[in-house]
């Protein structure tokens, strides 16, 4: 008999047992392990996804921050530039003002120097002229320069116009005590007497008690001056010096015409000459 029912039943039972055993030892554990792994992979993927999103957010955050910083940087640079321009302008203005101030001061000082120089020049020229004239007169004649001046003065006094003469008279009569003779040089007693004589001739009423005071005054340049109670007769080189001074001033103007226009370009020309 090919079919053995005993074996069939036995085999059915065997197969049932095998199904149970494989279910217990094979399918269960393996499927569980596979499911677990799958779940873990899914979890890991979720975590990775989360981390990726987080990283992207972080990246976005940092990008924004960087942009912000760049903007700020530009702003700061812009501000700095503007400030620098402002500062530059301010400094330029200040420098210009300072230059102007310096120029103005220099010009003022130059003007002062010029004036000082002119005055000094005038004084020196006067002196020099006097000295030169005196020497010339000394060399030309035996008589001293003072004699000539004296003679000239007396001549002038004698040739006084009538109106002046009457005024002098009046002055002498009014204030006898206050007749003063100023002279640039020493007047000897002889000359004073001579002068008194002339005054007596002019004003006979004055008489002997004519009080003449002779004063030496170096401020008068090579001249004489009679001061009698408000009336004054004088001769000196002042008029000649006035002419000379005008001439010299004209020379100075011609020599330094552009000084006021060129600030700081030249040394102040009066410095050396003023002291010489």
């Amino acid at each position: 008999m090919i079919i053995d029912w005993y074996t069939i039943i036995f085999q059915i039972i065997n197969f049932m047992i095998l199904v149970f055993l494989l279910r217990r030892f094979l399918y269960g554990p393996v499927i569980r392990a596979m499911d677990e792994r799958e779940q873990k992979i899914v979890q890991r993927e979720e975590v990775a996804q989360d981390k990726k999103e987080e990283a992207e957010q972080e990246q976005q955050h940092y990008r924004l921050k960087t942009e912000e910083l760049e903007e700020k940087e530009e702003e700061i640079i812009e501000n700095a530039r503007a400030e620098a321009v402002k500062e530059k302008r301010g400094l330029l203005d200040q420098a210009r003002q300072e230059v102007d101030e310096t120029r103005r001061r220099w010009q003022e000082s130059f003007e002062r120097e010029k004036e000082t120089f002119t005055a000094e020049l005038r004084r020196r020229i006067g002196h020099q002229a006097c000295t030169v004239a005196r020497r010339c007169l000394q060399d030309l004649a035996d008589a001293r320069l003072e004699e000539l001046i004296w003679a000239m003065f007396l001549k002038k006094l004698n040739r006084l116009p009538d109106q002046d003469r009457s005024e002098l008279k009046k002055a002498l009569e009014a204030g006898e005590d206050e007749i003063t003779l100023h002279s640039a040089f020493e007047t000897g007693p002889g000359r004073v007497e001579e002068f008194k004589e002339i005054l007596r001739d002019l004003v006979p009423a004055a008489g002997d008690n004519l009080n003449l005071d002779a004063v030496t005054d170096p401020g008068l340049i090579c001249g004489l001056e009679l001061d009698a109670g408000g009336y004054r007769v004088a001769w000196n080189i002042d008029s000649y010096l006035q002419d000379l001074e005008e001439q010299v001033l004209k020379e100075v103007e011609q020599n330094f015409p552009a000084v006021s226009g060129e600030a700081g370009g030249k040394e102040v020309p009066g410095d050396d000459q003023a002291g010489s």
Partner: protein, 230 residues
Amino acid sequence: MTINPDEIVLFEWGWFKINSTIAFTWLVIFLLTFGSWLVTRRLSSEGELSRWQNLLEVLITGIKTQIREVSRQEPGPYLPFVGTLFIFIALSNILAIVPGYVPPTSSLSTTAALAICVFIAVPVFGIASQGVLNYLKQYLQPTFFMLPFNLIGELSRTLALAVRLYGNMMSGTIIVAILLTITPLLFPVVMQALGLLTGLIQAYIFAILAMVYIASASRAHEEIAKKGEE
């Protein structure tokens, strides 16, 4: 020469006897269980997989895929039954290359037992998935007159399952035995190699057919459920 391994009795005690079919079945059961236990006692769910675990996972994933493709249902409930059919038959057939081993599947008793298991499993799964009435209604489809034909079909396909596997395996064994007497060198080796292929194909066919029968019994319910949803 013995064609039927049932007749080789190894142990007998009163009515209780152990023939070589039962003995080799036990051997296969032991190998499968012990092997599974060896591999699955140290399973890892992450990191490196052992080769054996990998093999088992590939095997089970393959079976699940096949079940899903054939039944178009989730393979979960069917896996232990159909998977065991395949693994048992496959191992029984493959071991045929071991000298002295007689595959239990070359005994009609074994194949009949497996076919009877399928014969019982079909209504069990059918009723479990769609209820007794719905399952029984299937025998009246498409008309009442088809009931006898349905019943005959049910029985005949079970018989066909049993005889197909038995015939293939038994013929393989016998052909090798005959060839050994005619051309003892080389040719039997080729036939045995062919036998391995035939054995695997038969295991596959048996398991797939079982799945088709079970699926056809439980599919009606799925279709009704789908219609209801629509």
